[in-house]
Each structure stands twice: as structure tokens, then as C-alpha cells.
């Protein structure tokens, strides 16, 4: 890197954005240099994706200025941003799977005499570009769905280059890539940098940031807390910049002496997901589980609820061996699941609070197949009061409730079932701070009543604040177990991003 000529491609300053009571961005600034790779790091909710969405024209900021190529742009839309040469490679593949490579590269900018497209010219030009930039040869007419994930990323980048991109923003591009593919993607990005393109690279993998980036901007609580050179600043220092120390009153205190093991998992294995996973959760204990996207942590939780069937190993609840092939069996065996996608799996928005709460336990409120409204109403009213669910009445539609209250309805459903094991998958995502605290209180109470709780979360502060023990999964294996005072965000982040290798030498 020649530090001599610093050309700023994009400068965002004092960007603020509120969503209702939540401050997503607070005077955040970001500077993107030409011919340089900028890493953007921060915890979930730190504001990384919000500031990128502001730049992409998807979110309109409340205040702040954006300068692109020396010109102040008053307002942005996804189309106008692309015209200015700023392109985004989003985390999920945004390619039409049944399109050919040529169609994908020129999507929205088809070659040909309207309304016709010259398919052959598009294939030829796409092949030229792929060859020229990446030395990649694909048979003519290859379909997008037949490409590997890495190749699809390259096709997306090619699409941006075909439209003369000068700034390229990649949101977690390596999440679904194996190491070799990631390495070849890095080579591509370095070449683009050397050609003078400004690259922004968002990743949770600290090693990748260290290996690839020229500068790193760290975000925390909606603002940028500093920009450093990763060759001069250690990963540990960057991590400590990412984590706020003041946890405060967010996490209610509790003291519980754990009882006998309720959930026992031994040697659990899922092909392509994880292997050799063993742990137990005792009565009254809250155990955290964390890992990056693709680490296998999610799949462990899915196996515990019968959404996926493990290839080997055993799951026991209160000493009883379970064969979990469907959620039907998991529910019957006393396992409750709070799914991450609340709207698709947690609560039925079009049903009433009452219907949602009693859904998993209707047999308890029915006689010979008919629902007894009296006992159902009584139980539902009790739970609404107990969890202080804010709803006009028990027959109000769940759609009309706030996110936090919807989540409480989802929890009430399992309380009504008297489940023994609670598996929670990111329970506080898209829930406001006040409701978060209520949910933490609820977890504490459940644990106090002897339930075993497994909390899958990527919010490290939450894990530190709530859990008695935290298991970290890295690339399909348990990379570390932390308990009591040894649970701290630095250690969790380090273990989950593979920065601190363990005795097994799992980390790359």
C-alpha cells in the first residue's frame, strides 16, 4: 500500500438513524478509500448492516452527509447508487438460480436491441470478463444453480465490474465458503484493490480481516469507535474495541443451584453439520450455545427439536433416550423450541393470543376431542397475566402485538405445555430493549422453577449476562466451554472466530 495518495471514494459522516425508540446509528462515519480494502467489524446490532444499507439507498438516514466521488449526494436509491459505481454483494445469493452466467452478469443491463436480448453476445462477453478478471473458464450457458457458492460470488462481482464498479461492498462473503474458496476470493479482491477499486469487506472472521484488510473500522452501539491498521493492532485489541464494557442493569441477577442433568447430549453427529458434540444441561441451568454462521451451532439446536435427524450419538431427557425425528416427538418428550424466525415458526400472526398459547397443549384443555373453552380461557388468562403479555384481550390477533409481546406468546405456548427443556434460538432478535429484559427475567424464572435452558445466541453480551455456562462451536466442533467468571465476550468471540485455537487444533 502506498500511503502517499489517499483518494476517498466514499465518505459518510455523522449518519444517524432511529427505528422508533431504537438508535440504530448515532453519528456514525465511514470513509472508503480507493485502492484499499476496508474491513468493517462489530457485533450484531452494532450498526454495520444499517450503515451499509444507508449507503445502498435501502434505508434513508435521519441526518448526516454522504459524499461519493467528491460530490455530496442528497438522497440515494438503490438504482442511483449503482449509477455512481457503488456495488453491493449481499450475504444471501441474489442471483436467479435458473439464469445462465451471461444472463446473471448482465441482469438489468441486458445487451441487445430492446425488447430482444442477444443471449449469445451476453454469454460471450460474460465469458470474456470472467477470463480477464479472474482467469475463470466456464462452459457457455452454464446455469447459476450449477455453480459453487464461491463461483456465484465471483459472478456477482463480475456483474458489478461489467457495470464499471468503483466501490465494491461485500457483506460476509465467506460465510458459506470453504477455506480454499475463501482464499481464491481473497486473491480476486486483492487484484481488484490493485486495480484501484475500493473494497469494503464485512466479516465476523477476525483472521480473514487480519489477513486481507488494509484498514479496519470498528463499530459499536451504532457508531464507529475507531479505524485501525490490522497489521499494527492485534485481534484482541480489535475485539475489545467491539465490546462495550458497561452491561449495566440489562441482565437481572439470579442465584440458582443447578440440580440433576435434564438434557444429556453425547457424541452427537450430523454429516456436513457437526461431530462429536457432547454436553448436558442441568435443572435450573441456563447454558449458552454460540458459533458463527455455518459453524454447526444452529444445526445442533435443530437436531434437538427433531427438525433435523442426527446421524449418530444420543439425546436424553431426564434419563430417557429420545429418538427425535420430528418436532412432534420432541414436543411430546418435553422439549420446547423458541425458533429464530418468529413469524414463520413461533407464532401464527393470523390467530388469536388464546389460540397461539394453547396450540401445543390443546389436549390438556379438551374432552373427547372438543376444546373446553372454560379451562382454556382460564389457563390462557393466567399465562397472559403471569408473563404480563400486553394485549387488549385474549382473542386479539397476535399480529396486533409488539415483537416482544409476540415472543412472550411464543414462550407462553410452552409454559402451557409444561415443557422440561427449553431450546431458544436467538430469542431476542428484533425485540426492543425493554422486552429483552423481560425475556431474560422470564428465562431466570423458568430456570428457577427447574427447567433446563439451552440458549443459542450470537449476542455475546446476552450470553455473558444470562448464562451459567457457554459452549462455543467452531467449524462443527465444540471449540470451548466457558463457565462462571471465565465467560467474557473477548474469550467467546475469540473462540467462535477461531482466533484462539484449542488443544484439538481445530482452528485454521
Amino acid at each position: 500500500m502506498q500511503a502517499a495518495k489517499r483518494e476517498i471514494a466514499v465518505s459518510m459522516s455523522d449518519i444517524s438513524k432511529r427505528f422508533g425508540p431504537v438508535r440504530a446509528l448515532e453519528n456514525a462515519s465511514l470513509e472508503i478509500e480507493r485502492g484499499s480494502i476496508l474491513g468493517l467489524v462489530g457485533q450484531n446490532g452494532a450498526g454495520k448492516s444499517t450503515i451499509i444499507k444507508v449507503l445502498a439507498g435501502i434505508i434513508r438516514p435521519d441526518s448526516g452527509t454522504i459524499v461519493i466521488n467528491g460530490e455530496t449526494v442528497p438522497s440515494l436509491s438503490p438504482a442511483s447508487v449503482e449509477k455512481l459505481g457503488v456495488h453491493f454483494i449481499h450475504q444471501d445469493r441474489l442471483l436467479v438460480p435458473t439464469a445462465t452466467v451471461g444472463e446473471a452478469v448482465f441482469l438489468g443491463h441486458e445487451i441487445g436491441f430492446r425488447p430482444f436480448v442477444n443471449r449469445r453476445a451476453m454469454e460471450r462477453k460474460a465469458a470474456d470478463l470472467l477470463q480477464r478478471f479472474f482467469g475463470m473458464e466456464l462452459p457457455a450457458g452454464t446455469l447459476v444453480k450449477d455453480l459453487t457458492t464461491a463461483q456465484q460470488k465471483v459472478v456477482q462481482i463480475t456483474r458489478a465490474l461489467a457495470q464499471k464498479a468503483s466501490v465494491l461492498v461485500l457483506d460476509e462473503p465467506t460465510a458459506a465458503l470453504v477455506k480454499r474458496e475463501a482464499d481464491s476470493l481473497f486473491d480476486v479482491l486483492r487484484r481488484l484493490r490493485d486495480d484501484g477499486i475500493a473494497v469494503v469487506f464485512i466479516s465476523h472472521y477476525m483472521q480473514e480481516i487480519e489477513k486481507l484488510c488494509d484498514r479496519v473500522t470498528v463499530m459499536r452501539n451504532g457508531t464507529d469507535v475507531g479505524t485501525v491498521d490490522p497489521r499494527e493492532t492485534s485481534i484482541d485489541e480489535i475485539i475489545s474495541m467491539m465490546i462495550a464494557r458497561d452491561v449495566g442493569e440489562m441482565f437481572p441477577k439470579r442465584s440458582v443451584t443447578p440440580g440433576a442433568p435434564v438434557l444429556e447430549v453425547t457424541n452427537l453427529r450430523l454429516g456436513g453439520g457437526f461431530e462429536n458434540i457432547g454436553f448436558n444441561v442441568r435443572a435450573g441451568e441456563i447454558v449458552g450455545l454460540t458459533g458463527l454462521l455455518g459453524s454447526g451451532a444452529k444445526e445442533i439446536v435443530q437436531c434437538l427439536f427433531g427438525l433435523k435427524t442426527a446421524d449418530g450419538g444420543s439425546i436424553k431427557v431426564e434419563g430417557k433416550q429420545l429418538a427425535l425425528s420430528t418436532p412432534v416427538k420432541a414436543v411430546r418428550d418435553g422439549i420446547a423450541m423458541l425458533p429464530e424466525d418468529r413469524r414463520a415458526h413461533g407464532v401464527a400472526l393470523g390467530l388469536s393470543v388464546r389460540e397461539n398459547i394453547s396450540l401445543a397443549s390443546l389436549r390438556r384443555y379438551s374432552k373427547s376431542g372438543l376444546v373446553s373453552r372454560g379451562s382454556e380461557n382460564q389457563a390462557v388468562d393466567g399465562l397472559i397475566k403471569e408473563l404480563s403479555i400486553k394485549t387488549p384481550h385474549r382473542d386479539a390477533l397476535v399480529r396486533e402485538l409488539s415483537g416482544g409481546n409476540q415472543q412472550k406468546v411464543a414462550i407462553a405456548k410452552w409454559l402451557s405445555c409444561q415443557s422440561r427443556v427449553y431450546v431458544l434460538d436467538e430469542p431476542t432478535v428484533a425485540v426492543d430493549v425493554g422486552a429483552k429484559v423481560e425475556i431474560y427475567n422470564l428465562l431466570n424464572r423458568l430456570a428457577g422453577e427447574g427447567a433446563a435452558i439451552l440458549l443459542l445466541s450470537s449476542d455475546l453480551l446476552e450470553l455473558v449476562g444470562v448464562c451459567d455456562r457457554v459452549l462455543v462451536v467452531y467449524r462443527g466442533r465444540l471449540a470451548g466451554t466457558f463457565s462462571g467468571p471465565s465467560i467474557n465476550s473477548d474469550a467467546l468471540l475469540a473462540a467462535s472466530s477461531g482466533a484462539r485455537s484449542n488443544a484439538d487444533g481445530v482452528a485454521a
Binding site: D341, A348, S358, G369
Partner: protein, 328 residues
């Protein structure tokens, strides 16, 4: 919907009222219109005719579809269930079997259609639309193959059919027997759909299948039950149809499909969440039957009746949904 104290309040609540009761209002308006336009419309003989010939059979098919549509699915093969039950019933009677065997055989044939749908949908994971469309095609061809290209089968006197013809035409305490059958089935389906555990599961699957699955509901089993019940109800209609006309006419069941779907969706305008309900469906069926009968009495020919019904469906749905959007 919160209503603040301003001059618009009256307008808003009137709109809400119109939106909620658009089917009932349309119903009343249409009855009044035909009563004025045709002197024979309100006569007991005509009302009996409407009820027995136009309402009962369609309503029973529509009850089945109400269950299926509540579960978030569709059954395009109800006509096949009607026909299969009708065909087997008539064939058995024509071969000299007793009425009980005939009814059992007819319902058995409908059951097979329902099980086939259930297997396609829950085992092979084919969408209800495509699965039942396939069964519709297969069922139509099967009938043509079994009746040398679609020849009707007539029941001559002397068979057990006379009893059935009698049943179709008699009355109990002044109420026609088919109407009693309908009332019993409607109450049963109402209780099943709105009061039973099974009904709750059906509603949950219809509202959000993922939530049903994540709540430990045996979705494939319940969904199979839904399709079997729908086919059985259509089978009842098939038997009533054959008993009334003393014959089996291939492919005649298809006439029920679109009317039954239409009636069910007209009925959804009664609920705030646009959910199908037994009462709504029955009102929808009555509405369609009265319009058909009324247009016939005022002298419109068959083709114009179809146009009239189409316009009516548009009007009811558009007014109901349009007003509702305005009130939100």
C-alpha cells in the same frame, strides 16, 4: 382499528358495518328484488325447489371445501368424489345390491379419492392444487373409460332405488329429508371446525403451517384427515344426486366445484380475518342458489345466469374488501 371522536366516526362505523355484513345485505337486497320481480319467487313450492335442488347438494360439497380451504389448501377433485360415489352407488344398485351396500360402496369410492389426494399431498409433498388437479384429470378419464365414453347409467324401477327416490322427495315434520341431512352435516362440520382440537389444528395449518409443525402438530396426519373428510362429504352429495335423479351421469359432479369454491370464499367476507366458516359458506351457497333461481324465474337464460353470478361475486367481494381496506 381505533376510532377517534371526530365527524368521520359515523362514516367509519357505517363502512365497517357494510364491510362486515356485505353478504347479508346483498342477500336481503337480492331476495327483495326477486320477490318484487317475480310473483312465483316467494311461493313455498319454489323455495322448496331452491332448497332441495340447488342448495343441499352444493352446500354439502362446500362444507368439505370449507374444511380444506381452512387448512390452507384446495381440493379441485370434489367433482370426482361426487361422481365416483354416484357411479359406484348406481352400479351397485343396478346390479341388485341393497341400498346399504350401495351407500357403503359409494362412500368407499369417495374415500379412495380422498386417500389418493392425501397420499399425493402429504407423502409426495405435491401442492394441494396440483395434486387434486391431477386426480381431477384421472377421475374424469376413469369415468369415461368405465362408462364406454360417458354413457349415463339409469336405474329402472324395482331396484332399491325406489326407496332412495322416496327419501329424496319425502319430508320429516314438513322438512325435506335432504335438508335434514344437510343440517346434521353442517352442525357436525361446524363443531369440528370451530370447537374441536382437530379444527384448531386445521386453523393453525391454514394460518401458518410452520407454526403448526413447530408446535408438535402431526401436520401430515391432520392434513390427510382434511382431504378424506372433504371427499367423503362430496360422496354424500354424489349419493343424494343419484337418488334424486335415479341415474348416474358421468362428469356431472364438476358443476359443483366452482360454485362450492365461490360460496366458500363469499363466506369468508363474514369474518374479520377472511377465514372460511360453516355459516359463511352456507350463506354463500344460499346466495348463489337464489340468484340462479331468481334469474331463471325472471326469464334469463342459462348463459346470462352465469354472467349474473360472476358479477354478483365480484360485487360482494369487491365491496367487502374495498370497504374493509378503507376502514383500516
Amino acid at each position: 382499528m381505533s376510532v377517534s371522536a371526530n365527524p368521520n366516526t359515523a362514516k367509519v362505523s357505517l363502512r365497517a358495518f357494510l364491510a362486515k355484513y356485505s353478504v347479508l345485505i346483498a342477500f336481503a337486497a337480492i331476495v327483495i328484488f326477486f320477490a318484487v320481480a317475480s310473483p312465483t319467487f316467494l311461493t313455498p313450492a319454489n323455495l322448496f325447489n331452491v332448497l332441495v335442488n340447488n342448495v343441499v347438494m352444493l352446500a354439502i360439497v362446500a362444507l368439505g371445501l370449507t374444511i380444506v380451504i381452512s387448512s390452507g389448501g384446495i381440493d379441485l377433485s370434489v367433482g370426482v368424489s361426487v361422481d365416483m360415489a354416484s357411479m359406484v352407488f348406481v352400479m351397485l344398485l343396478a346390479a341388485g345390491y341393497s341400498g346399504v351396500v350401495g351407500v357403503g360402496g359409494g362412500l368407499g369410492a369417495a374415500l379412495i379419492v380422498g386417500i389418493l389426494n392425501a397420499i399425493l399431498i402429504t407423502r409426495l409433498n405435491i401442492s394441494p392444487f396440483l395434486a387434486t388437479l391431477g386426480v381431477l384429470f384421472i377421475g374424469q378419464s376413469t369415468q369415461q373409460l368405465a362408462t364406454s365414453g360417458g354413457q349415463p347409467i339409469y336405474l329402472t324401477s324395482g331396484y332399491a332405488s325406489d326407496q332412495f327416490k322416496a327419501i329424496a322427495r319425502t319430508a320429516l315434520f314438513g322438512v325435506p329429508t335432504p335438508v335434514i341431512v344437510l343440517v346434521i352435516l353442517a352442525i357436525a362440520v361446524h363443531v369440528l371446525l370451530h370447537r374441536s382440537v382437530f379444527g384448531r389444528y386445521v386453523q393453525a395449518m391454514g394460518a401458518q403451517p410452520g407454526v403448526a409443525w413447530y408446535s408438535g402438530i402431526r401436520v401430515p396426519r391432520e392434513l390427510s384427515m382434511v382431504h378424506v373428510l372433504c371427499a367423503l362429504l362430496a360422496g354424500v352429495t354424489g349419493i343424494l344426486l343419484s337418488a334424486t335423479v335415479k341415474s348416474y351421469v358421468p362428469l356431472s359432479g364438476n358443476a359443483f366445484l366452482l360454485d362450492a369454491i365461490g360460496a366458500t370464499f363469499i363466506g369468508t367476507t363474514l369474518s374479520r380475518e377472511r377465514k372460511p366458516s360453516v355459516i359463511g359458506t352456507l350463506l354463500g351457497v344460499l346466495l348463489l342458489a337464489i340468484v340462479k333461481n331468481g334469474l331463471l324465474l325472471v326469464g334469463w337464460n342459462f348463459y346470462w345466469q352465469q354472467v349474473g353470478i360472476g358479477v354478483l361475486v365480484f360485487l360482494v367481494l369487491a365491496v367487502s374488501f374495498g370497504l374493509r381496506r378503507a376502514t383500516h
